[in-house]
Subunit: 575 residues, 2 copies
């Protein structure tokens, strides 16, 4: 109710969209960052004719897509909201996409005042200013009430003004229930060039009903039947007569033909060459970007470590720098993906945990993002535990619709980047810091959900399953055991989720034992993924993984000290 | 080198501490938020006499605690840094602790300019202003160079000034290589009352060496031997002769006696009463707070949902409101814990993912924090997936030194809150939204690492392992199966990490089958924890867990639709 006037004016007097096709590629976007205002959003689309009015009362029923907070199960929702402070970052992505496709569509984000306490909002504010996103307009519904108490700044619009101005935004402060002021603000925002605009709207929660207006303790609470009747009575007195007439909404330009990709050429590596998978990742996305205009890369000031600077060099106009701000990087990727781009945000894998809640919401949104985390595991060496991702697979594989990939050499890296782009949905790719030899022929393919049996004989007495740096430890162990007359099977589990259960079970049955070895903590990584896959066949897994918080040291030394080197594999096989 | 002058002046002309006892409870604190400046920190403590000078060259060796980034393995490090943007939040916690214990110790935080792109910095900025933390002084080393390029704002001190002023800080802008200016700034900060101070220091990266000063591409790069010799030559010319004299550092007041806790009275619940574990959590921390002055509670504007408002009502002076800003809440908890408090930050379990990187660093720090996440799983119902924590155990149990607890009724909740407080180290407690009956006698104890066998007979043909809401589904299934003449064992796995492997193996062997049922996604939860525990005995686990992204609906409906209701347990047992 605090935002109803703001939204009514936006939707029916400012925005350009197609009420019959909410996903029109050139239509203006509206992201309801304060997702708990979902009933307002649904009412707007009902008024626009997209939702039958009588369906509005299905709100929050299992049988309805009108969920408690908006999700992209509804075609007018680009990204799921309900975790506060994410919408503006997604809006940055939507606005960057407009620039990418050369459209003048505008992006609007409705935020609650309480959610501006989230740091992610200020990351997005800084980025929107850096990118000079004048097609982006935030609307701040300053109703002064959080869930449990007054917000920190209450109705202190001046402090809001000073803060947003300090972050380079054009600021318009209005009474959020005064329609002429609201309409003027949208007009002024549209005319503002070179920077984003925020409309600071002083509002009242529960506006329009005497016993709720401006009062606390109504957050998320239903009215009694009696209260509801009184509320309707009061509201009806304030409404113009309802003619069931759908307002005239400006149509967007005709939709362009869908963007298409050409096929990537086969990899061009030489067997035995030493190339870090992070470096192969960089060249792969640059190569991919050349054949697919939808591909974009996003960085958080580590492009020279993740090698995303190779993409920047090749496609500077599709490379976005977010400085050290992982939340807005992932949030913007969500927005870009929702509007048809194929974004590859990359940073140290450890620092994707900074954006874990965005990744959770990306999963709920089902958006087509491709996260690439480098510097995984203790094999990074001397920089120490703060830089080592040892829980990234736990984070990514927890989400049931995430694909999780883990290449070991340059060929598989390039192939998996291609697979990631071709897959519709969220993907996580893990790369490593140390150089590793090219072991696959350039013609090899790496379908998602597959694995590679890289060593095999009829006499194998165990199967060792590794990926990334540990695959090479497994190969060393293989050779050492072979010299002692012991044969083992070695599997490269490049697809950690989904996992090739049938092949793992087959190997387990053929060799009697399954041993996983991973540069990851023991929970949520390869070992658990394999164990889940083979449990239905009654098979168990012996897990070699990093058992404790590690420390600085040389990469090889750390692999050994934390129990995942060839020596430990040999012990596990022979022990 | 950009921060060396700032730090030398701080450490040897401003701070009050005991070079022989860095953990002195009343000593001023220094948090090196830009953890990559670790060599500077180590050099300072060597100069102060705590580290033998000859040990400085052990930097980054496995045998040394002088790691690539600082960790609390070194007694002068309160919280691990190296994931940028966390130090100021920890500093807020250190400063709040000074207030808690009535000390005038000061807290200093050295930040890099690049890290102020992290939203968490602005969460901390807003909180420090809200709490009027005039004992907190941030020092911003504005060297204008990030890792991969110039920072967004370069040497634009004016924009920094406007932003920090907008967030309510006292701002002092100086030349960070001018010692008189630096000393004056510390003096001014110390004299500033009612708000925190930030010193904006214009600096040059690689200061003092002609071929590095102010130049890019030296981040994290070692000099060649020749370059090093040249650098030493240049630096030596600029130094005063070295007398190996330890500067005179002001001593803190005598340390107070350690704080102590009395024992909590036994729970006072009535069997069969319906109480949500989140509510029992609220009353438990309030009760705990009455017997232990170290206990504090932190909220992110959901105190009326998590019931932490019960703590606020009882102990308002130890209740800290962070509004909707989970990162600073957890970061401040880290700082409080590092200085002797026992902080219980609480929010919806789903929203702890917002602070996942802080939780990762809390694990590396080994700090004594007690995270409490409410509203776990699909059992929250209509609010939908954005509010449902289904990956929280994956996040918490990935950290090898985290304890993860999951009470099912009010008695076990209160007992586990007590256990969490008594345990030294990080703990995660998961509570639920729906009311559940009290099933345990008030005298029951719940040691960390234990479990409860709640149904058992000699004829059990399977063991069903649940916790939280699914324990009650298991009990329903037990009764239904019993009426059909089938006996099952039912285990309450209240301690998910560490897990009681011996009892699980015993139950598995006795009953032939282990079935886990959890209101969590399949990866990283109870099923994986049990599977890891029983694998060494050759046992496998059948897992019932939420298999896909859920949606809004009624709690019971969702438990059933997503495969974790009594009906599914019965099928798993009989199928």
């Amino acid at each position: 109710m605090s935002a109803a006037d703001l939204m009514a004016a936006l939707f029916f007097a400012d925005m350009r969209f197609d009420p019959k096709n909410p996903q029109h590629p050139l239509a203006d976007r509206l992201i309801m960052s304060k997702g708990h205002a979902a009933p307002l959003l649904y009412a707007m689309w009902a008024e626009a004719g997209f939702i039958p009015r009588e369906r509005l009362t299905d709100l929050r029923l299992f049988s309805s897509n009108l969920e408690g907070h908006p999700t992209p199960r509804l075609p007018f929702v680009d990204v799921a909201t309900g975790s506060l402070g994410q919408g503006l970052a997604a809006g940055v992505g939507c606005a960057l996409n407009a620039r990418r496709i050369g459209s003048d569509y505008r992006t609007y984000v409705l935020m609650g005042d309480g959610e501006t306490a989230e740091g992610s909002v200020w990351e997005a504010a800084a980025s929107a200013h850096f990118f000079k996103l004048d097609s982006l307009c935030a609307i701040l519904d300053i109703n002064a009430l959080g869930q449990s108490r007054a917000t920190e700044l209450a109705h202190d619009l001046e402090t809001y003004r000073v803060r947003w101005s300090a972050f380079g935004w054009h600021v318009i402060a209005i009474d959020g229930h005064d329609l002429p002021q609201i309409l003027d603000a949208y007009k002024e925002a549209r005319a503002t060039k070179g920077r984003p605009t925020i409309i600071l709207a002083r509002t009242l929660k529960g506006k329009g009903v005497t016993f709720t207006e401006g009062l606390p303790n109504w957050h998320g609470k239903a009215l009694s039947k009696e209260q509801m009747e009184k509320a309707f009575e009061e509201l009806n007195r304030q409404l113009a007569p309802d003619g069931n007439e759908v307002p005239k909404i400006p149509a967007p330009p005709a939709a362009p033909p869908p963007e298409a990709a050409a096929e990537m050429a086969v990899p061009q590596f030489k067997l035995g060459d030493q190339i870090a998978t992070r470096e192969a990742y960089g060249s792969a996305i640059a190569k991919l970007g050349a054949v697919d205009p939808r591909v974009v890369a996003l960085d958080a000031d580590v492009k020279n470590s993740t090698f995303s600077d190779k993409f920047e060099a090749a496609h500077p106009e599709r490379f976005y720098q977010f400085f050290i701000a992982e939340q807005v990087m992932v949030g913007a990727a969500m927005g870009l993906a929702a509007r048809g781009a194929i974004p590859f945000p990359s940073t140290f894998a450890a620092f994707f945990t900074r954006a874990a809640d965005f990744i959770r919401m990306a999963a709920i949104s089902g958006v087509n993002i491709k996260l690439a985390g480098s510097h995984a595991g203790v094999s990074i060496g001397e920089d120490g535990p703060s830089q080592m991702a040892l829980e990234d697979f736990a984070m990514a594989t927890a989400q049931p619709n995430f694909v999780a990939l883990y290449p070991s050499d340059a060929v598989s890296t390039e192939r998996l980047v291609g697979e990631a782009a071709a897959h519709q949905g969220p993907v996580y790719i893990r790369t490593s810091r140390p150089k590793t030899p090219v072991i696959y022929d350039n013609s090899e393919k790496f379908p998602i959900g597959g694995l590679k049996v890289v060593r095999k004989s009829d006499k194998d007495t165990a199967t060792v399953i590794g990926a990334g740096v540990t695959l090479f430890e497994a190969l060393k162990a293989h050779d050492e055991l072979k010299s002692k007359g012991i044969s083992i099977r070695v599997i490269d589990l490049y697809s950690v989720q989904p996992v090739d259960a049938a092949s793992l079970i087959e190997a387990g049955k053929a060799t009697g034992r399954l041993i996983t070895v991973e540069d990851h903590y023991i929970s949520g990584g390869l070992g658990d993924a394999v164990a889940r896959a083979v449990a239905p066949a009654g098979l168990t897994v012996t897990r070699l993984a990093v058992p404790e918080i590690p420390r600085s040291g040389k990469p090889d030394e750390l692999l050994d000290k934390f129990g995942i080197s060839a020596r430990h594999i040999v012990s596990a096989v022979t022990g």
